[in-house]
Amino acid sequence: MDGFGVTFAFWVLTGVTLVAALGVLLSRNLLHAVLFLILTFVGMAGYFVLLSADFLGMAQVLIYVGAIAVLVLFAVLLTPRAGRDNGETRMFLPALLLCGTLLAVILFVITDTNWAVSEEPATVSAAGLGEALLSRWVLPFELASVLLTVALVGSIMLVRSREEEAEDPR
């Protein structure tokens, strides 16, 4: 990984992503927070592409921006105006302190550790990833799909109203 383009992209992405994440933390309007969150996701997709995980970058945009963010927007809209406040609880300062400490520890670990970095940065094609998912990781893959099905059914059951349940054919 070298070249001016990659470096430039990295710093731009860092700026965008961190500012967007800060925006999620600081904006008082929940909808603005969601839009900042989307920007964070897009920045993340950029990082994934930088790390030569093209397919995952695209999947990130498709799933997070196209589906999860829309889902969050939907939930925001379904809760009325009173629920669109993005204020903090009084745990804000303690949380900030805790996270600051955690960040310091992690940063120390990152800088202090002598990472075993391989000389030749590795890349995986989408085909290779698919191959791995369906051979070596097939059990977790199936489990994940089961989890998705369970989540689907569960969330449908959760949001059904009593009237709708009453309408069910027995």
Partner: protein, 369 residues
Amino acid sequence: MSGIIKSEPFTLNIGPQHPSTHGVFRIKVKVDGERIVDAEMVMGYLHRAMEKLAEERTYTQNIPFTDRTDYLASMSNNLGYVLAVEKLAGIGVPDRGNAIRVIMAELQRIASHCMAVGAFTNDTGAWQTPVMWCFRERERVLDLFEMTSGARLTCNYMRIGGVAFDLPREFEPATRKLLADLPGFIDEIEGLLVGNEIFLARTRGVGMLSAETATNFSLSGPMLRGSGIAWDIRKADPYCGYEKYDFQIPIGYQGDAFDRFIVRLEEMRQSVKIVQQALDALPGGPHSTHVPLALRPPAGEAYARVEGPRGELGYYVVSDEGPSPYRFHIRPPSFINLSALKEMTVGGTVADAIVVLGSIDIVVGEIDR
């Protein structure tokens, strides 16, 4: 979407400035999600105090007013009014005058239904195509009106005792050509829309009105016939010699927006039939009797009704032997048809409300007078 989430119902103003209210008319709907829980009609944005103004003008001077109530069916309105005055004053009309009146009223019905069908499909979202096709045919009817009366929209053609002018020589061939073309056009519209799945999905079962409700609301015209009630003033209480013509009353099946639509299409076919017969048997003679300009009918009251394109169009005139009516009242069909709007919209979605409004075929000039 509604019902799942506990939501705050909010009020949505459809109109007065809205692409689909066909004029300045307003519905205040309370919606829960997209579902309408309450609807309130607000009208009067186009009120011109016509009924009061008419008390200051002579009987003949009032005819142009009737043009401007239902501006899409000025001939029918003229006819209703002059029938009422003739009944009040006991004036007879020559055969030719009656035949011309029938021709004009039926042509007007075709023109008005063209507009109704077109605007209705526009409300279902067909992007202007049917409306333009309908306008194309309506233009030809309006050309005929221009030929005879000099005006296209507000014709002011009927007179007490007959019609204003005799038919011009070029009227008959032009009308025959139009009559030859119209069935094809109606088939075309039918082929375009009745076989269209999306159109069916949007109109079938929307704005259902049972026969009982329809009669209770005292609806008339295609609204009533769409609910399966065979009622047509041309048959039930014939005027202008309608009993001489052979035609049938189209009625619907279950009283939804689609039924009103096919009833209107069929009515256009029947109108073509009537015009054909009237034109074939057009009697000679004068087109009008002489009526004094300052008409002073004997004291009394008269109510005359015609089957307008939108339903029973009634005129009620009271005379106190003066030169102008003592009381002048209109029974506008779309005003009364509109009263069933709430019945039809509550429980549906906003999109349905628009379709229902289109299927009523309102003319705001007539509602507000």
